[in-house]
Symmetry: C2
Subunit: 342 residues, 2 copies
């Protein structure tokens, strides 16, 4: 793992017959260098394939133009497009994005935060706000500028650019109740260390609890983020004696897994059982019946998070948290309950 042989400023300086300072200026502040000198330097740079050494540059200038993002998993459509948007906005300002993944593990997230700092991140994008005190202390101690996304809190500490998972789940559940469902089950994401999953459970629970017409939660099953897990959870719910008429799922992947399994088992959706999702990823519009779900404006969220982080980094006028609104997308997987003809 050696970087030996990389040409250095000195190599270029020798090749171009000027001093290293001039090369540095030509690269960072071209106006300060005579045009013909600049051209001579450019030739040398191209010929040698020179790229500045990040280490030297950071050391000397104390500036990295790099931010880090730590997402729970790269293999998750839910973060992909938001992150892409985040990156694009950063790129416009010449800022490079470093991405790491935590595997939904707050301990690992802490290590990744340290690693990104080590790699010179000027600021961070974090997903969700549940993390050990240790991590929060570290962020505070080092005064690291960061934005928290994919969730929203109305608190003075911390800059949030995201949506309120509890509220969105609450709204969705009330809609399910309006359709006449009273026996409701939930397939949730794993809530441990994951405030988004937990808040969605809380939103569903609250809506059911506040209902005055006998609504109840027959069962809550937590499942990992894969189609199969949704399918298995569906089986678990439908093999109990206490059957729901609607299953609210913590995300679209679980919902799609449940729908496919329902189809395979001969259960009609929504006639026998309604199923709803969350996120509105591509899957939701493709599955049959179309998935009624909560649309999360990922691109807008990613862009806004980037803008806020850039603000923080340049010490611009006070920024404050931004709540991104979600929206119910009505498709065909939710309908009024029918008497089961079993």
């Amino acid at each position: 793992m050696k970087n030996t042989g990389s040409p250095t400023l000195e190599d270029v300086a020798e090749a171009a017959g000027v001093s290293t300072a001039t090369i540095s200026r030509a690269l960072n502040d071209p106006d300060k260098v005579a045009k013909e000198t600049r051209e001579r330097i450019q030739k040398a740079v191209d010929r040698l394939g020179y790229t500045p050494n990040f280490g030297g540059r950071v050391l000397a200038s104390n500036r990295t133009n790099t931010v880090g993002a730590i997402i729970p998993s790269m293999a998750n459509a839910m973060f992909a497009s938001g992150l892409q948007a985040f990156q694009e906005v950063l790129a416009e300002s010449g800022v490079t994005l470093l991405v790491a993944s935590s595997g939904y593990d707050t301990e690992h997230e802490f290590r990744q935060i340290r690693s990104l700092m080590t790699h010179g991140a000027d600021g961070l994008l974090l997903i969700g706000d549940e993390r050990p005190q240790k991590t929060k202390d570290f962020l505070a101690l080092r005064k690291i500028p960061y934005v928290i996304s994919w969730c929203y809190r109305n608190t003075p500490d911390g800059l949030y650019v995201g949506f309120d998972n509890e509220k969105a789940a609450y709204k969705l559940t009330n809609r399910v109740l309006e359709f006449g469902h009273r026996d409701i089950a939930m397939i949730a994401g794993i809530s441990k260390g994951n405030d988004r999953a937990r808040n969605r459970i809380e939103g569903v629970s609250r809506a059911v609890r506040e209902n005055t017409d006998g609504a109840r939660l027959t069962k809550i099953v937590e499942a990992r983020y894969r189609l199969e897990n949704g399918a298995e959870a569906f089986d678990e719910i439908m093999s109990a004696s206490d059957l729901p008429t609607a299953i609210i799922c913590g995300n679209d992947v679980l919902a799609a897994g449940a729908i496919v399994r329902a189809r395979k088992k001969g259960a009609r959706v929504p006639d026998d059982v309604s199923i709803t999702g969350f996120d509105d990823i591509g899957l939701a519009s493709v599955v049959e019946p179309g998935l009624t779900t909560v649309r999360v404006p990922q691109i807008e969220m990613g862009q806004e998070a980037a803008r806020q982080l850039l603000r923080l980094l340049s010490n611009q006028p006070a920024t404050s948290s931004i709540e991104i609104e979600t929206e119910l997308v009505m498709r065909d997987s939710l309908a009024a309950p029918k008497a089961l003809a079993v």
Copy 2:
């Protein structure tokens, strides 16, 4: 964008009452430091929230333990799980992954390669092998270790860990022909600057060309990577006077878009028209009817790519390209053609 105020080795040294060298050792080679000294150092590190400065470290050790990956887009399920697997294998060896995206633009890819080198990447993961000579020259000039994935070539130059897109598409198309289809259309990805998309087109074309029983390609439409684009391409194909009995799609997203549109238009799949995909992402098993497609073992590919790159970086025994085998997944979207009852 200042990193000011970050504690340095010297700060820790002072706090712990030892020299900087001892701190450095305690952090990088703990066995060489007395246990109680180590503990004292650890306390100081925690208290100050010290993280090593990457710049200083790189400069002094000429080692970064970082590799870069440039993928066409983060918002693409096709790369996500392979990249996640790639990252996990690297992490086992203490190597950090930096991810950048090229937006399917070879010019932008070149810039990202330079940027990653600047950020201290010891090696690179590149997707596909179509890029300007300029880029190849740069890689060669700087002797950058890299692995090319998501495609495969049997050539001595370049280390490939991937699958043969042409061959896979050829196999799939022959299967379609075996079902009795003779009038075939294709919805392909954008082939410009994208060898994977182009090779898939070539595989389909070759199979059709080699058929001696009147098979022909009624139309090839190139579409961008979104469900809607697949849907639009489907419309374009089905509004022509020359109708196919099967549509081969360059990827699952396009195929799913086409299937959903077909359903909306009242065309039955596969009775009226067969549709096939490529990649076998989650969508493929969820869409109705289930998508007959080509399974790409992404996780295996990502892991193997990481191992090969680590090999390259540690100058281990000669590595050679690895062909990952793809597999036809038969679901229900492909069947024998029926007479159209229009």
